[in-house]
C-alpha cells in the first residue's frame, strides 16, 4: 500500500484520493462517561472506511460526531481542508454529508418515492410560489430532481415499491430505501450506521454489493460502522478499530486482523 498525502492505490487497483475528512483528537463525554477518548483518523476521497469494535465501543458516537448529532468536548473536525465550526445536524447535511441510521429513520407515512425525494431538498432552489403554482423553473427543476431520484431507485432495485408507503415494507427493503435517500443527495461523504444490522445472510450480501457498487459507480466516499467482522474485512479499504472509546487499531483489513490488541478486544482478554 502506498500511503501519502496524494492518496494510495488499493489492492484491487482503485485510486484513492486526498483526505476528505479528518478527526483530530476527538473526545466526547456524557457526564462522567467518556464515550470517545482522544481519537484521530482520516477519511480519504473515494475509499470505503470502516469503524469497527465490540458493543459500546463508541462507534455510533463517532458517527454522530461526524454528522453533527453530538458535539465533542475536545478535538477538531476538518472537512475538505478546513476546520469545521460547530454545526447543527441539518447544516452538516447541507454541507454534503448524508447518513443512514442504525434503527432506520425513514418518513414512515410517505411513499418510497417521496422519501427518496426528500434527499433532494437541498437541490430545490426555486421559490415557494413558483413551486406551488408549478410555474417558471419549478417544473424543470422538479423533473431534474425526479430523474436523479429515479436513477437511485433503479440503482438500488426498488422500482417495484416506488409508490408503497414505507411503513408497509420489510426491514431489509427499508434499509435500502434509507440508503437511496442518502444517495439521492449526491453526498460528498456517506455515513452508514450498521447498514447490515439485523439482516439475514442473503440481505447482507445484497447490501454489501450495493455498497461496493455505490462506491464504484459514483466514486462516493463511504464511512461505515459494522459489527460483522467478516463483512467489514471484505468491504473496506481501511479500518479503524475502537474499544472502550479508544482507538486500538487503524489500517488495512489485513493489518488490523493481525493486530494483537484487536484480537484481544474481540476475543475478550481481561483489561488490567
Amino acid at each position: 500500500m502506498l500511503d501519502n498525502a496524494e492518496g494510495y492505490v488499493t489492492e484491487d487497483g482503485r485510486k484513492i484520493g486526498g483526505v476528505v475528512m479528518e478527526m483530530k483528537n476527538i473526545t466526547l463525554r456524557f457526564g462522567g462517561v467518556v464515550a470517545i477518548k482522544d481519537i484521530s483518523f482520516d477519511i480519504r476521497e473515494g475509499e470505503i472506511r470502516a469503524i469497527i469494535g465490540p458493543n459500546g465501543a463508541g462507534k455510533s458516537s463517532m458517527l454522530n460526531v461526524i454528522s453533527g448529532f453530538y458535539v465533542p468536548q475536545e478535538g477538531e473536525v476538518w472537512f475538505h481542508g478546513a476546520k469545521r465550526p460547530q454545526m447543527r445536524p441539518f447544516e452538516v447535511a447541507q454541507q454534503g454529508i448524508a447518513r443512514t441510521f442504525q434503527n432506520i429513520a425513514l418518513f414512515e407515512g410517505m411513499s418510497v418515492l417521496d422519501n427518496v425525494m426528500t434527499g433532494r431538498l437541498g437541490y430545490m432552489k426555486t421559490n415557494i410560489f413558483q413551486q406551488a403554482l408549478w410555474k417558471g423553473k419549478a417544473e424543470s427543476e422538479e423533473v431534474e430532481n425526479r430523474e436523479a431520484v429515479e436513477k437511485m431507485i433503479d440503482f438500488l432495485e426498488i422500482q417495484h415499491i416506488r409508490k408503497t408507503p414505507v411503513s408497509r415494507l420489510p426491514y431489509g427493503l427499508k434499509k435500502r430505501v434509507e440508503l437511496a435517500r442518502a444517495l439521492a443527495a449526491e453526498p460528498k461523504l456517506l455515513l452508514l450506521d450498521e447498514p447490515m444490522a439485523g439482516m439475514n445472510v442473503e440481505e447482507k450480501e445484497d447490501m454489501s454489493r450495493f455498497i461496493l457498487d455505490v462506491n464504484d459507480e459514483f466514486g462516493t466516499t463511504i464511512a461505515l460502522i459494522e459489527h460483522d467482522m467478516g463483512v467489514v474485512m471484505d468491504l473496506s479499504d481501511r479500518v479503524v478499530v475502537m474499544d472502550y472509546g479508544k482507538k486500538i487499531g487503524d489500517g488495512t483489513p489485513d493489518e488490523v486482523r493481525n493486530n494483537q490488541e484487536v484480537i484481544d478486544a474481540y476475543l475478550g482478554v481481561s483489561h488490567d
Binding site: A98, F101, G109, T118, L121, G122, M124, Q131
Partner: protein, 328 residues
C-alpha cells in the same frame, strides 16, 4: 314541492355555510398536528388574538395602553389614525409570524422530544397566556370588526329561489364569502404541502425528526413556518367569525366546536377537516330542524359532541385519518 322539503333545503344550505366556518378552525388544528404531532389547544385563542390585533391596528389603538398609562401616568389610548383593512391584515399577519417565532423560541424548542401530552399541556398554558396578553394589549371589551366583507341577505339567491319555490332562501353574503375563501385557503394549503419544498420538509419533520435533520432540514425553521401558517389560518378564521359575531372572548370557544369536527374527519387530514366541518354544520342544523322541536330545542349545543362520540366508538381514526395499526 312540499314546504317542509324546501325548508330542509334551506337548512342544509345554511348548515353547509356554518360547516365551512367550523372547517376553517379545524384546519388550523390539523396543520399543526400534521407537522408537529401537537394538538394545539391554543388555536381558538390564536383566532381571537388575531381578530383583536386586527381590530386594534385598524382603529389605531395603542397596544398595552392600560399598562403604559398605569405605569407612566399618561392618558394615551389612540394613535389618532385608522389603518386601511388590507394593510392592517398584512400587519396582523406580521404579528402572527412574530408570535410563531416566540412560541417556537420560548416554548416548543425546550420541549423537543417530549411526550405529546406534555406538548399538549404546554399549548393549554399558551392558550391562557395568549388570552391574557390579548386582553392586556387591546382591552377586553367587545369590538366590531369590519374589513369590508359583504354582509346581509344575498338578494340574488333570495329572488332566484323565490321564483322557483315561491319561497326565498335566506343566505348570508358573509357565509358565501367565507366559503369561497375557505376553498381558496384549502387549495393553497394543499398546493403548499404537496408541491413545495417547504411543504415536503414540513411533512418530513412531522414524520421523523432525526431523519429530517439528516437530509438537511432545519427543525426550528419548519416549526416557525408551521406556527406561522397556523397563525394565518387563525387570522382568516378570526376575520370570518369576528365579522359574523363580533370580536369577543367567546371566539376562542369556537375552537371547541372544532374538536368534534376533527374526530369526524381525522386529526391528520386536510380534506377530513373540510368534510367533517360540513357534516357537523349540516348535521346540527338539520337535527335542530327535524328533532329539535320534539325535545325542546337547543340541540345545536350538544349534537356535534354526541356525533363525535358515536364516531369514536366505530371509527376512532375518523373518516380520513390514518388507520391505526397495532403491531404485536
Amino acid at each position: 314541492m312540499p314546504e317542509q322539503l324546501i325548508f330542509a333545503m334551506e337548512v342544509i344550505l345554511n348548515g353547509l355555510m356554518a360547516g365551512v366556518l367550523y372547517a376553517l378552525v379545524a384546519l388550523g388544528f390539523v396543520l399543526i398536528y400534521k407537522a408537529s404531532g401537537i394538538f394545539n389547544y391554543a388555536q381558538g385563542v390564536m383566532a381571537l388574538f388575531a381578530a383583536m390585533t386586527l381590530v386594534g391596528i385598524m382603529n389605531g389603538q395603542v397596544p398595552f395602553a392600560h399598562v403604559i398609562n398605569a405605569t407612566f401616568g399618561t392618558h394615551v389610548y389612540n394613535f389618532g389614525w385608522t389603518v386601511p383593512a388590507l394593510l392592517a391584515i398584512i400587519l396582523t399577519m406580521a404579528v402572527m409570524v412574530l408570535l410563531a417565532w416566540a412560541v417556537q423560541r420560548f416554548v416548543m424548542r425546550h420541549l423537543v422530544g417530549q411526550e405529546p401530552i406534555i406538548l399538549f399541556m404546554a399549548t393549554i398554558g399558551l392558550a391562557y397566556f395568549l388570552e391574557g396578553v390579548a386582553d392586556l394589549m387591546w382591552g377586553s371589551e367587545i369590538k366590531t370588526l369590519n374589513v369590508g366583507l359583504p354582509q346581509g341577505i344575498n338578494l340574488w339567491i333570495d329572488e332566484t329561489t323565490f321564483n322557483f319555490f315561491d319561497y326565498g332562501f335566506f343566505i348570508d353574503n358573509l357565509d358565501i364569502v367565507a366559503t369561497v375563501i375557505a376553498a381558496l385557503l384549502v387549495a393553497a394549503l394543499v398546493a403548499f404541502s404537496q408541491y413545495t419544498k417547504q411543504g415536503r420538509a414540513m411533512r418530513a419533520v412531522a414524520d421523523d425528526h432525526q431523519a429530517a435533520l439528516s437530509v438537511g432540514i432545519s427543525l426550528n425553521f419548519i416549526w416557525i413556518m408551521v406556527w406561522s401558517v397556523a397563525g394565518f389560518v387563525a387570522l382568516v378564521a378570526g376575520i370570518m367569525w369576528g365579522t359574523k359575531s363580533g370580536v369577543q372572548f367567546s371566539l376562542s370557544l369556537i375552537a371547541l366546536k372544532a374538536l368534534p369536527v376533527l374526530m369526524l374527519g381525522g386529526f391528520t387530514s386536510i380534506p377530513g377537516a373540510i368534510v367533517g366541518g360540513l357534516i357537523i354544520g349540516v348535521g346540527e342544523k338539520l337535527f335542530e330542524f327535524a328533532i329539535g322541536p320534539m325535545v325542546g330545542g337547543a340541540t345545536e349545543n350538544w349534537f356535534a359532541y354526541v356525533l363525535a362520540l358515536i364516531f369514536l366508538v366505530f371509527r376512532p381514526q375518523g373518516l380520513f385519518g390514518e388507520k391505526i395499526i397495532e403491531r404485536v
